[in-house]
């Protein structure tokens, strides 16, 4: 599946905007991303494994509320920095 990386996180991905990743769930994909790009995951997922307040993750245009969402190999995952003011 393809993970679309926002500009705020591309310092972790060597400026790549799209990353191919594998996993059965969103949690597995996030773990895989963090293994390849250490530190990335904690900027968007808290230590309690919740999505941070001003981050949104969409799977095929459906907003994921938590990391238990099941994934298919052809899924498109978008990480979005939501409006946070100031």
């Amino acid at each position: 599946m393809t993970v679309h990386i926002p500009s705020a996180l591309r310092s972790y991905t060597k400026q790549k905007g799209e990353i191919e990743a594998e996993g059965q769930t969103l949690a597995e994909v996030m773990s895989a991303l963090d293994r390849r790009y250490p530190g990335l995951c904690f900027r968007i997922i808290t230590e309690q494994d919740t999505i941070r307040r001003h981050i949104r993750i969409f799977v095929n245009e459906e907003q994921a509320r938590d990391l238990s969402v099941a994934l298919q190999p052809e899924d498109q995952i978008h990480i979005i920095c939501a409006l946070s003011g100031g």
Partner: protein
């Protein structure tokens, strides 16, 4: 082991100073020449990041840690080992333990405070977070773990309160202090949640609030209600603490075991509310504060729009206004708790950063002030590093 006391000798008058500036939109370094007459501002580092604190390790004078987050992204710490030329992110930022499924665990919103460890413990750092948490690194800031028991202790959690019980952008653990005579003698403070002391390296802590007032006539025995804004330890008399509190300015001598309100001798129209507290590097009787308007809805600006520092040279018996060079009127800014500091020179150099993005300096211990930089983002912290 509280035996020896070593006076800090003045730094060479010909050494340069670097001001490490944390702002709401990135970090900057303002560096002086050897005469301190000309200053050069760097380009912003981590532009767009909220930088609460930027510290140089005084033990190696090369390592710098930066507490950073953004409006969107979670908190982290960046680390430089070449005086800020290059940076790497910490491997494991401060984070609370994950709780079992079904329980509500705490989440670090931002790292607020950084303190390098005792000179005998190279590589050791402490960090305070919002919401309140105490963390430690043993490897120069590469990895961080919760320190001591307080983060999960039921009594401390009660004193910390909820995220609604603290300052407007979250309750904070700050003022992590280390006795220069003994690395096991520690203090920290919480807004809100009081001031705490350990004499056994953090194994046990004791609240030290006797003598402090709390707002609106609440019970002073309840640690939750105590709101220290900034606590400092005298380098040449480590048994003396000074504190700028939500309810006034205080001094505490360990032999007396209680806080004495020394702000009552401030002028009535100015009051003794504020955030920063700056100590003289060699004279335990000399300290500076920067009062703000804490009346009615707490405007958090200079009283009357007329900024001024106040100095006492007799441990708080009397105070003298120091406003030469500052705007005479219509200056509606103030100085946050980490944004005023002193260097180790003689006479002492003082530096402060304002909520309106200006950096002011005094080369004469506060008797006159000069604006050295304007138009920066809102300044959260200023630290003076001797180079």
């Amino acid at each position: 082991m509280l035996t020896s006391r070593k006076a800090t000798s003045p730094q060479s008058a010909t050494s340069s100073v670097a001001l490490l500036i944390g702002t709401r939109k990135g970090a900057f370094i303002l560096r002086s020449d050897r005469s301190h007459r000309t200053w050069k501002l760097t380009a912003p580092m981590f532009l767009g990041h909220i930088v609460h604190h930027l510290m140089l390790d005084p033990r190696d004078r090369r390592t710098m840690l930066m507490a950073a987050s953004t409006g969107h992204l979670g908190p982290t710490i960046f680390r430089s080992t070449d005086l800020g030329k290059t940076w790497k992110e910490t491997n494991t930022p401060p984070a609370f333990p994950k709780v079992p499924e079904g329980q509500k665990g705490r989440v670090v919103d931002h790292v607020f405070w950084l303190t390098p460890g005792h000179p005998s413990e190279p590589g050791l750092w402490y960090a305070g977070t919002s919401p309140q948490g105490l963390f430690r690194s043993n490897d120069g800031g590469v990895t961080w773990k919760p320190f001591s028991y307080i983060n999960d202790d039921p009594q401390y959690r009660e004193w910390m309160g909820t995220v609604q019980d603290g300052t407007p952008d979250g309750p904070k653990l700050h003022s992590i202090l280390i006795d220069p005579r003994d690395p096991r003698h520690l203090y920290f403070a919480m807004s809100g949640g009081g001031v705490h002391e350990s004499v056994d390296g953090g194994r046990t802590w004791t609240p030290i609030v006797q003598g402090l007032e709390v707002v609106e006539g609440f019970n002073t025995d309840n640690i939750t209600f105590h709101d220290p804004h900034c606590v400092r330890l005298c380098p040449t008399n480590p048994d003396r603490l000074y504190q700028q509190n939500h309810c006034g300015i205080y001094r505490r001598d360990r032999s007396e075991g209680r806080w004495i309100r020394i702000g009552k001798s401030m002028p009535n129209k100015v009051g003794d509310i504020g955030f920063p507290m700056v100590l003289h590097p060699r004279d335990p009787d000399t300290v500076w504060v920067f009062p703000m308007d804490g009346s009615t809805v707490w405007p958090r600006v200079s009283p009357g729009g007329k900024p001024a520092a106040y100095i006492t040279r007799n441990a708080g018996k009397t105070w003298t206004r120091q406003d030469k060079g500052f705007p005479r009127a219509n200056a509606w800014w103030t100085v946050k708790r980490q944004a005023m500091t002193a260097d180790a020179h003689e006479p002492v150099g003082l530096y402060l950063g304002t909520t309106s993005g200006e950096v002011w300096a005094s080369r004469t211990g506060g008797t006159s002030w000069t604006c050295m930089a304007r138009h920066l983002p809102e300044i959260y912290s200023v630290e003076a590093a001797g180079l």
